[in-house]
């Protein structure tokens, strides 16, 4: 019995196991229970069936939606592919084509292909190929690939077909899907690439492709030929031939130009793997992608060594005289221009020399051109030997030579060069078996004094040269008459001075120095004089510079020291109270390493104690001394000598400078003393000098004291040591003796 019925019976109070029959009421209630159960059962069935149907409908709808969307999605994907898609059965019949918007690549319109066999569509040969491919795909169950060319509405195109067997069956037939891709562009690129690589290998220019990190990715054979680096050595490496061609700095600049401007071209000198140098014409181009980012660099290099060589040769021919191999007029102009430019920049002088052989025309005419040429050749040689390396010699035509020199101190220096040039002609020239005496005339212009233009300077030198000729040849002339005069006077004086030393035309005067307080003679400054037989007394201002330039200052200086020292001893012998004697030292002397030895020797031979010798150096000389001069001064002081600074106040010495040197005395320059009563500035300078002397513990002496007012001022300011006309002019040694002796007799000197 169903458990429900059993429970229903139990509910109405009947035991299903007993035989009791139900009462009327029980029966009615049982029926009502059963009726409810049936009713509920109906409802349940209704609900169940309805829910199943509804659910099934929903599922179907869902499936349909999914199917639609799947198909739509697949269609969208297929159409998004750039390829054409064909679905064929095993017979070759086309069932489906995806070719949206690519109909121009279909051999026939879609509707003429669907449900057709290849033979009905394509030319027999192509149809056969397609069918063979289809059979192979189905037989092997593997993808088959075919490249073919086809005339389609879009033109003649290359396609790559990939035919893939599928699991899908249509009408019981196996199927294949073919993806046909238009590879025309790729094909064309391949052709272009083949052509390009043929060209790369055929050209004589070296070609190199670098990636963005400068690693070589490609070189052609010309590259190997030019640089010596094989492809295997080069690829994957940085371009070593570049490293051999320029400094790191230059390469950095080149690459920065390439990276910013996109290209660079220029000439470099490089070295092959075998060590030989060669000239390179290099062009570098940056290769960029569509985003303007550099992806590669293309380098083209040509070996221009030969070209360069012939270019150099041509240039040499164009700028040099073939006979003498000296620069010609063109190069002379160029060099002169540069010299003018340089001189301007460093604020120095230079000179242009025009040298013309005297009577060259006669030699040419009488002995023939080849002798003339030989002479010119020899002249060129001699000029070369005479000139310094930095001087520029040129032959500007016929027998005309030029010389350009720079860094002239004085115009006189140019005169000396001219003299040397002329001297090279003193020896005869061996020509064709003869010994020819040849002279030359020289014209000189000075830049920038005479001008700073090539044409002007050459014209002036030329005209000066003609005036030298007019003066009787074998001489030189400046374009400026005064310079010529000075130059000749200079040379004359130099000769005279040399002889003056030999002929004892030089003599010394002594200017006494006094102490204003005591009135005592405290020293005497030795002053050189020259008594020229013809010219009379020559001022030291005139002959000392000549002595300096010519080097005569050395023997003259030694003579002065020797004489002054000897004189001091003589004064001693004459009974004078010993006092120091001052001698001026020139810059040249000061810088002469033999100075100390010389002084020491003189002190020794004369017997003069070092303390009795004062050496005066001008302030400007002190400032320009070389390092060893300082140690010379130290050594001189060690000998007992004292050191004084002459003309103090005219230079630009600083306190620091003064402290560097071992000094004993400052001599206030006479120019300040001269104006001291009129010019408050000079007063201030003198005061400052005295204060400086005090603070550095140097004694201070004023020179050139001529008036009582000057004396009074100095006295008032505390400067007690003086020399000057007010007390005594420079006088002969004897006179000092007399003055002191008379004083002794008088028993004292008036205090000034």
């Amino acid at each position: 019995m169903h458990r429900l019925l059993r429970r229903q019976l139990k509910k109405i109070g009947l035991d299903p196991a007993s035989d009791l029959t139900p009462t009327q009421d029980q029966w009615r209630e049982l029926l009502s229970h059963i009726n409810r159960a049936y009713g509920q059962s109906d409802q349940d069935r209704y609900t169940l069936e309805r829910s199943l149907t509804t659910s099934s409908d929903e599922m179907h709808e869902l499936y349909q939606r999914l199917k639609d969307s799947t198909e739509a999605r697949l269609g969208a994907i297929a159409n998004a592919l750039p390829d054409l898609l064909f679905l064929q059965d095993a017979q070759g019949i086309y069932h489906e084509i995806f070719s949206e918007a690519r109909d121009e690549k279909l051999f026939r319109p879609e509707n003429e292909i669907i449900n057709k066999h290849p033979k009905e569509i394509f030319p027999p040969q192509i149809a056969d190929t397609f069918m063979a491919l289809l059979h192979k795909a189905l037989d092997t169950q593997e993808v088959q690939i075919l490249e073919y060319e086809l005339d389609v509405p879009a033109g003649r195109r290359w396609f790559e077909a990939r035919m893939t067997p599928t699991k899908l069956r249509l009408g019981g037939e196996s199927t294949v899907i073919t993806m046909a891709r238009d590879i025309t562009d790729r094909k064309q690129a391949e052709v272009r690439q083949r052509l390009a690589s043929t060209v790369f290998e055929a050209v004589t220019e070296g070609m190199v492709i670098l990636d963005k990190d400068h690693q070589i990715v490609f070189v052609n054979s010309a590259f190997t030929y030019i640089t010596g680096h094989s492809e295997a050595e080069a690829v994957g490496e940085e371009p070593r031939f570049l490293k051999n061609s320029a400094s790191e700095e230059k390469l950095r600049i080149i690459w920065s130009i390439v990276d910013t401007k996109g290209s660079w071209r220029g000439e470099l000198q490089s070295r092959r793997t075998n060590g030989l140098a060669y000239h390179l014409w290099l062009s570098i181009n940056a290769v960029k992608d569509s985003n303007e980012r550099i992806t590669h660099y293309a380098l083209v290099l040509s070996d221009i060594s030969e070209l360069k060589h012939s270019q150099d040769e041509l240039e040499y021919i164009a700028t040099h005289d073939p006979l003498t191999h000296l620069p010609n007029r063109a190069l002379f102009h160029e060099q002169l221009e540069q010299a003018i430019h340089r001189s301007k920049r460093v604020n120095r002088r230079g000179a242009v020399f025009f040298l013309d052989l005297d009577r060259f025309k006669n030699i040419n005419d009488t002995l023939g051109h080849h002798v003339g040429d030989d002479l010119l050749f020899q002249v060129a040689e001699r000029l070369r030997q005479t000139a310094r390396e930095e001087d520029m010699i040129a032959r500007i035509g016929g027998d005309e030579f030029t010389l350009v020199i720079e860094n002239l101190q004085r115009a006189e220096d140019a005169a000396k060069v001219a003299k040397n040039l002329l001297k090279t002609f003193s020896a005869p020239f061996p020509l064709n078996g003869y010994e020819l005496e040849i002279s030359a005339s020289i014209g000189i212009s000075i830049f920038p004094d005479d001008g700073d233009e090539i044409s002007q300077l050459t014209k002036q030198a030329d005209s000066a040269m003609y005036s030298a000729k007019e003066q009787g040849r074998n001489t030189f002339r400046f374009f400026t008459q005064k310079l010529t005069d000075t130059a000749f006077e200079f040379f004359d004086l130099e000769i005279s001075l040399r002889r003056a030393l030999e002929l004892n035309q030089l003599f010394l005067l002594y200017q006494p120095q006094y102490n204003l307080n005591s009135g005592e003679l405290i020293g005497a400054e030795a002053l050189i004089r020259w008594n020229h037989p013809g010219m009379g007394l020559v001022s030291p201002d005139r002959f000392i510079p000549i002595a300096e330039v010519s080097g005569l200052i050395e023997p003259i200086g030694e003579w002065v020291l020797q004489t002054a020292a000897t004189q001091a001893i003589q004064w001693d012998k004459a009974g004078l109270k010993p006092f120091p004697v001052s001698v001026n030292l020139s810059r040249r002397q000061l810088n002469n390493p033999g100075l100390v030895d010389m002084v020491s020797r003189i002190l020794e031979t004369t017997g003069l104690p070092g303390e009795r010798l004062e050496l005066e150096i001008t302030e400007s000389a002190l400032l320009e001394t070389e390092e060893q001069a300082c140690s010379s001064l130290e050594k001189l002081r060690a000998l007992g000598c004292s050191i004084a600074i002459d003309d103090f106040g005219t230079g630009y010495s600083s306190l620091a400078n003064l402290k560097l040197f071992p000094l004993d005395r400052l001599k206030i320059d006479k120019s300040f003393v001269h104006d001291v009563t009129k010019d408050p500035n000079d007063e201030a300078i003198i005061r400052a000098t005295i204060a400086l002397g005090n603070s550095l513990q140097l004694s201070v002496i004023a020179e050139g004291v001529e008036t009582e007012a000057q004396r009074d001022f100095l006295l008032k300011e505390g400067c007690r040591e003086v020399q000057g006309f007010l007390f005594s002019q420079p006088v002969e040694a004897k006179r000092i003796e007399e003055m002191e002796r008379r004083l002794k007799v008088k028993g004292g000197r008036a205090i000034w």
Partner: protein
Amino acid sequence: MELETYRFTPGNGWDREPDHNLDSPNTLVLFFGAPDYSLIEDAVSWLEGHFAQGVMLGCSSAGEIFGDELSLDCLVVAVLRFRETRLRVACTELAQTGDSSRVGHQISSELLDNDLQGILILSEGLGVNGSQLIEGINSALPKHITVTGGLAGDDDRFERTWVWHDGLHSTKLICALGLYGSKISIGYGSKGGWDLLGHEREVTRSVDNILYELDGQPALDIYKRYLGERASGLPATGLLFPLSMRDQENTDDPKVRTILAVDETEQSITFAGDIPQGSFVRLMRANFDRLIDGAATAVEEINLSRYHGGPVLCIAISCVGRRLVLGERTEEEIEATLEGLPEETRQIGFYSYGELSPLSSGRCDLHNQTMTLTLIWEDE
């Protein structure tokens, strides 16, 4: 523990007079009765008078379970006198649905004590959001405390439910009974046994436990399509098609949600628990045998390893939806549970608007459409 169960039927009175000698401070009087309180008011008053020392607690039902029988519009009572187990009740009225979580937290916090072993919840069944209530309860309790219970029912009318405690029967009351002591044992089991129907649908519009749209269509339309002419019986007939729900992350076991109400103007359906937007649901349908098997399986889930004989109370709380589906065959599931339990078991219970029982994880959760069993015994 001493245990007796009684049934009061209006018109017929008590099946036998309850033994008021069982009254003590450790006595629990648990009852489930007709939604129409007036029918059973006298009987409840009688109990109140005779079990003055004990703890008394009850609620309205959608069908009372007594032994292996289902009865309607009566009162079923279990009287348990514990030897050692102590009892405490915490109650609060729910002012509005949104307070559910807070109330849950509050009442369980009140009960929380060192030797608290388990909590039985009886909550009004219409205003409460069961999911939030249980969330609040869980938030206040350590994991080892067993929480079971149910939402009061109102037959198949869904109009008025009540909970009774301490002389007060209120439509807003939520009560929690705490069981304390080392001797008390609480077993539980819960099973549905429903079949899935149709495809999974996404919850495209919902607010808390109100569902508006599934897959972009009005949810109510879907129900009406499935119910056909029985749609006129909504919301009760909606119980024929509960929802199986999983969240987006698919973390927990799927939960079952059952209909409480429909709103024709809003085209919405109110469920006994939350249906979060973005979760996935499938309709479920009943298969009688499988529902009955489900009830039997709920018994099998109960851990009886600590049981060594003696009286046991089984509180069976089943879903009103099951009663509506099973109809005449409802009692088969009650029989099935009792058949699987120890001989000395007494069973009372009720058809509810929501069952509370631990998940496999051990945390209590709201269930729908299940047979949920709570077994209580005291070790001798």
